[in-house]
């Protein structure tokens, strides 16, 4: 059945071509082709994923591939156009096509009144194609192609409302910051080719142990560069919050559930490479866990509902990186999957909220929305509980595996920071819930009136995403560390784990694992209660009620010692200002200086020579006597001089 694989990306590509060319004429129906293309792609992907996970339909444990054609067959270089599916790809396929499909359906309602709807659906289809290329590619250059193409789609979709200056700026920023990481990735690919003479991933992994160690380190670091850019890890995290300028379905699909996972996927995919360089693994863990706590601290004070979710995404991606770094490979993919579902849900939910209050994104102008948009409220509550890590929802299991992996693999510092971040996550999520749904309404009176629940095309995807947010953990992650997912991914990570010598002790609930899980859960419970007491809660069914206390929040934020932290958090630790100074201000000055050099020094020299020549010409004019004999003599003399000169040199 491997011949089906190319259909998965090609269907959305066809949808893009048709919608892009004819969408304008299709009017209200312009979403049809795009949505059906993705539904069809989902069906094929499910079949392929089933085959790859159950080792049937022509797939075995190591996966199966299909080569389409020789893409770049140069002398001394070669890259194929080919696809490869193994259990890891299958996991990604499930996340990408399922969430992709639901976001397409959701967008029918969300974009119904936008006159650029056809364009939006064309871009979404192009994104699906690119993302699927990225995860299906069987060689590094094709991954890179998908990598750049998803960046392009992200650019197009962030800047979708291009007349808005902030949207255009954010789109450009996202593309450029990503390209900074991509430089590293590109160099890494060159290094791989130079060292191994192939870019086919399976071949590279098979031969990688033979590469000199310093090159192993260089290659791993360069790949890490690319992963940091795409997955928005420190210090390249600055583009993701701004990317929220795009329409909310885009934030859900690209900037939460799929594209930003590409970096995690890439490192997981390259586990045979990273497994050989423990020193780089430590860097991965450090970057991840630092991003996790830094982003969580910023999420504390943001007031834009989408930005809170964006910083939360950074923080959760940080968890995944930390997980990869400590060698808890499967846990990282587990969190990638569960986070994809509940963060997709939360973003789509926030879109529904924004839709309900007529485009308002500031949570200070929300409040009390629970009764008015009940489906959105309940599904977002599920998402919040899931991300906070309350058992038995999806986030609990995946986060628990990450923290447990860090602890048991000897990365106590990663565990400690991750433990704190777990509490912070629960706190800022219930701050969001409190400010949005509970307490008194602070909605502008003129926007108050039309507050209504979103249409079914929007609420149904929310409900469908809530199901995996609740059950995914129980389904593929239970019992812990030996659930379905571990069985699926064992062929992918087994060799690396064995080689690292970190074969974990079996999960023991009545041992260290149970202590860690209960400890984390207790912290999460405390954090949630703290959030309730500050920002309010109203769940009559559970007998919970508290009014928000904005005066207390203000008092805390001004208290000695906390005020500085508050300021840093609300200024996003000044990273944007630093980048602006370095690259926009100083970079701009450098470019202007180089241009000055070009005009004044280089072109000035040329013009100077011109002036001198003109002057000399004036003098030499007297030579022009108009007598042909003189000219002939001059030519003859010149030719003789030249010839003699060269013969002297030539004969020597």
């Amino acid at each position: 059945m491997t011949f089906l694989i190319p259909l998965i990306p090609l269907l959305p590509l066809a949808g893009f071509a048709i919608t892009g060319l004819l969408g304008r004429e299709m009017g209200k129906q312009s979403h049809k082709v795009a949505v059906w293309a993705v539904v069809a792609s989902w069906l094929v992907a499910m079949l392929v994923a089933f085959g790859a996970l159950s080792h049937t339909l022509g797939f075995d444990a190591a996966g199966a591939g299909i080569k389409l054609w020789d893409w770049i067959p140069a002398t001394g270089f070669h890259a194929d156009m080919g696809f490869f599916v193994d259990p890891l790809t299958a996991c990604l396929l499930i996340v990408v096509t399922t969430i992709g499909m639901l976001v397409h359906i959701y967008s029918i309602g969300y974009m119904a009144h936008d006159e650029g709807k056809w364009r939006f659906f064309a871009y979404l289809n192009l994104f699906m194609f690119s993302m699927l290329m990225l995860i299906l590619a069987d060689n590094f250059l094709l991954v890179f192609a998908g990598w750049e193409l998803v960046g392009l789609c992200s650019y197009l979709l962030i800047g979708f409302w291009f007349p808005r200056r902030s949207a255009a700026e954010a789109a450009k920023k996202a593309f450029l910051v990503n390209r900074v990481g991509d430089m590293g990735f590109a160099l890494g690919i060159m290094a791989i080719w130079t060292q191994l003479g192939t870019l086919n991933m399976q071949a590279v992994f098979a031969k990688f142990a033979g590469v000199p160690h310093e090159w192993q380190i260089a290659i791993a670091l360069l790949i890490l560069c690319g992963a940091i850019g795409k997955s928005a890890q420190f210090p390249l995290h600055v583009w993701l919050p701004d990317a929220m300028e795009g329409p909310t379905p885009v934030s859900a699909l690209i900037h939460a559930a799929t594209m930003v996972n590409a970096g995690v996927y890439l490192i997981a995919r390259c586990n045979p490479i990273f497994g050989t360089v423990p020193e780089v693994m430590v860097i991965v863990a450090a970057i991840g866990i630092f991003t996790a706590i830094m982003a969580a601290s910023i999420a504390f004070t943001q007031t834009d509902i989408k930005r809170v979710l964006a910083y939360s995404t950074l923080s959760q991606l940080g968890y995944m990186f930390a997980s990869l770094g400590v060698g808890a490979w499967t846990a990282a993919i587990f969190h990638l999957m569960s986070h994809g579902f509940f963060k997709g849900l939360l973003f789509l939910g926030s879109g529904s909220v924004i839709h309900a209050v007529d485009g308002e994104q500031d949570m200070r102008k929300m409040g009390g929305l629970a009764r008015k948009i009940p489906i959105t409220y309940v599904t977002m509550l599920i998402g919040s509980v899931a991300i906070a890590g309350v058992p038995p929802l999806a986030g609990f299991f995946s986060k628990d595996e990450i923290l447990g992996g860090a602890f048991k693999n000897g990365f106590l510092w990663v565990w400690a920071i991750g433990f704190v971040v777990a509490g912070m996550t629960a706190f800022y999520m219930f701050r969001l819930m409190g400010m949005t749904f509970w307490g008194q309404s602070r909605v502008d009176p003129e926007k108050e009136h039309p507050t209504h629940e979103s249409p079914p095309t929007m609420t149904r995807p929310l409900i469908l995403l809530a199901i995996p947010a609740i059950f995914l953990g129980l389904l593929i992650g239970f019992p812990p560390e030996s659930g379905l997912l571990h069985q699926w991914l064992a062929p992918v990570f087994e060799a690396t784990i064995t080689a690292s010598g970190r074969t974990e002790a079996a999960y023991s609930f009545f041992g260290i694992d149970g202590v860690l899980a209960i400890g984390t859960t207790a912290l999460v419970a405390v954090a949630i209660v703290m959030a309730w007491r500050l920002f309010g809660v109203n769940m009559p069914a559970l007998g919970l009620h508290a009014e928000p206390r904005p005066d207390r929040v203000r008092e805390l934020s001004e208290r000695q010692g906390l005020a500085e932290l508050y300021r840093g958090s609300s200024h996003k630790w000044w990273f944007d200002d630093l980048n602006n100074l370095l690259f926009v201000v100083w970079g701009g000055k450098l470019a202007a200086a180089v241009f000055w050099f070009d005009r004044t020094v280089i072109d000035g020299t040329v013009n100077g020579i011109g002036t001198v020549t003109t002057g000399a010409g004036m003098r030499l004019r007297q030579v022009q006597t108009g007598r042909v004999q003189n000219y002939a003599l001059g030519i003859a003399l010149g030719l003789i001089a030249m010839a003699v000169g060269y013969i002297l040199i030539a004969v020597r």
């Binding site: 054609w69 020789d70 893409w71 770049i72 067959p73 140069a74 002398t75 001394g76 270089f77 156009m81 250059l141 890179f144 192609a145 750049e148 193409l149 392009l152 650019y155 800047g159 291009f162 007349p163 200056r165 255009a168 700026e169 789109a171 450009k172 593309f175 450029l176 390209r179 900074v180 991509d182 430089m183 590109a186 160099l187 690919i189 060159m190 290094a191 080719w193 130079t194 003479g197 701009g588 450098l590 470019a591 202007a592 180089v594 241009f595 070009d598 280089i602 072109d603 040329v606 011109g610 030249m642 010839a643 060269y646 013969i647 040199i649 030539a650 004969v651 020597r652």
Partner: protein
């Protein structure tokens, strides 16, 4: 049957020029169409030639040779290999597109313009076909004259300054080239006991060079002279400042040909003549040339960022993109050389397209200042989409031709020395910066006051304008996905180049 197809292709535009000359100037439409018809004919013939070309073997095919000035052994000798046939097809393609693109904008002295363009095409094709150094020089000079007229007569307000700069710069190069060619012929003649037979024949000269009979000191001087001539044309840093001026003042089609073909003449000369004839000198100077190329790539990109004028921006970006070509030539790697040649073609297609697209805007606004634009994506959506496509191609988006060429140069250079790739890779970010920032200011945001003032003139692309861009876009995609179409042709020339340069071919 020995049809002299190369000569037929070369002189078809000349016949066209004569036909146009015979037409009365009061029928500009007829003149335009006649010129287009002949350029299309040359294009079709070049495609037939491509189909007839045998892919596998090294060496030249369809060779024609006739005595011309027997006293000095000068012959009319032409022939093609995989490199020259690609350049000829690029030339004929861009030529008819340029002529079609001139239908609207050129309203004065149409006859002279079309004659100039057709003669220009003769010269360009001739340069790529010539296997006799003297013939090559003649064609090289033929190219200069019509270009001088096209910029000088149909150009912008500052055209006199720009043409003088262009002509003087290139003339300096041409003279150096003539000296180098004559000296080489002299040396050959001296080496053959005073016989001039074959003294200008490229293949015989190369055999002579391969047997190591040009002395090192002689090679250094001759190489430098020839290199300078070609480097000015490419143009390499620091000989590039004529390019922005010439581009800014040239009419749209002039810019298309200038960027699309004329710059390639220099690169072609380096690959065909400068390195194979003086391999020892080429190795001696390779280091500094690589450094200049790396500077050109980064420097051109940095200067592009702050350009206020659309055409100047694209001109400086050409300096950067052509840096990849010279880099790919002088690292002496088969991979990088194939990338360099692919980049020559790709740059011709992409930059040609960009100049056409700027021409579309100039036709409507009579301005090219970036700061005066804004919001064009809303008023001219088709134009903005196509412009966006070419911009992404120029930024090296994978799946399009620019990526393959640049990546092959990168990976080939990395294999020689990772430092070169590391020093150059920053261009990935710089190129995206100048291109996307420009696109943002032109297409995004709300409509500028300047454009509002023009109101009704801003119609979207016309059918003719679309026809000029469609083949370029098509080729950019096809070569991005199936670069083997070009790479297969280049395998033999790359091997021949490295053999001539005395480098063992790996992989």
């Amino acid at each position: 049957m020995n049809l002299p197809i190369l000569s037929l292709i070369t002189f078809t535009p000349l016949v066209g020029a004569l036909a146009v000359a015979a037409l009365p100037s009061r029928y500009p439409h007829l003149i335009r169409r006649t010129a287009l018809a002949f350029s299309l004919l040359a294009w079709v013939m070049s495609l037939v030639l491509l189909a007839a070309y045998a892919f596998g073997p090294t060496g030249f095919q369809f060779v024609e040779a006739h005595n011309w000035i027997p006293t000095f052994g000068i012959r009319y000798k032409v022939g093609i290999d995989g490199l020259s046939i690609l350049m000829v097809v690029l030339t004929t393609t861009l030529s008819w597109i340029s002529i079609l693109a001139s239908f609207g904008p050129i309203k004065d002295r149409v006859k002279g313009y079309m004659i100039s363009f057709l003669v220009l095409e003769v010269g360009m094709i001739g340069v790529f076909l010539a296997l006799d150094l003297f013939l090559f020089y003649i064609y090289w000079e033929i190219v200069l004259v019509p270009m001088y007229l096209i910029i000088g007569i149909w150009g912008g307000s500052n055209r006199i300054y720009a043409t003088m700069k262009f002509v003087l710069y290139t003339l300096v190069g041409s003279l150096l080239m003539l000296v180098a060619i004559l000296a080489t012929a002299f040396a050959y003649q001296v080496g053959h006991g005073g016989s001039w037979v074959g003294a200008f024949d490229f293949q015989l000269l190369q055999q002579f060079a391969a047997s190591g009979q040009f002395g090192d000191a002689f090679q250094n001087l001759a190489f430098l002279a020839l290199f300078l001539a070609f480097a000015i044309k490419v143009p390499m840093f620091p000989f590039h400042t004529w390019l922005p001026d010439a581009h800014t003042e040239a009419p749209t089609a002039g810019s298309v040909i200038l960027a699309g073909v004329l710059l390639k003449l220099g690169a072609y000369g380096l690959i065909r003549f400068a390195v194979p004839l003086y391999p020892h000198a080429a190795h001696t100077f390779a280091g500094p040339i690589i450094v200049l190329s790396v500077i050109a790539i980064v420097y051109g990109a940095i200067v592009s960022i702050v350009q206020p004028d659309l055409k100047r921006l694209i001109a400086y970006s050409s300096v950067s993109h052509m840096g990849f070509v010279t880099l790919g030539i002088f690292v002496f790697s088969a991979t990088a050389l194939q990338g360099a040649i692919l980049q020559m073609i790709s740059h011709g297609l992409i930059t040609g397209g960009l100049f056409l697209l700027v021409g579309v805007i100039y036709e409507r606004t009579h301005d090219r200042t970036i700061a005066k634009m804004g919001g064009l994506a809303a008023t001219m959506p088709v134009w903005a989409t196509v412009f966006g496509f070419f911009i992404l191609a120029s930024a090296g988006l994978p799946g399009l031709s620019g990526f393959v060429g640049e990546f092959l140069v990168f990976v080939g250079s990395f294999g020689i020395s990772p430092l070169i790739a590391v020093a150059t890779i920053i261009v990935m970010v710089l190129a995206a910066t100048y291109l996307l920032w420009m696109f943002q200011r032109v297409a995004f945001g709300t409509m500028s006051d300047f454009l509002k003032g023009l109101g009704g003139h801003l119609t979207d692309m016309t059918g003719t304008e679309a026809v000029t861009l469609l083949p370029l876009g098509f080729l950019i995609v096809v070569l991005g996905l199936f670069p083997s179409l070009v790479l297969d042709l280049l395998r033999a020339p790359a091997q021949a180049f490295l053999a001539a340069a005395g480098v063992a071919v790996g992989g």
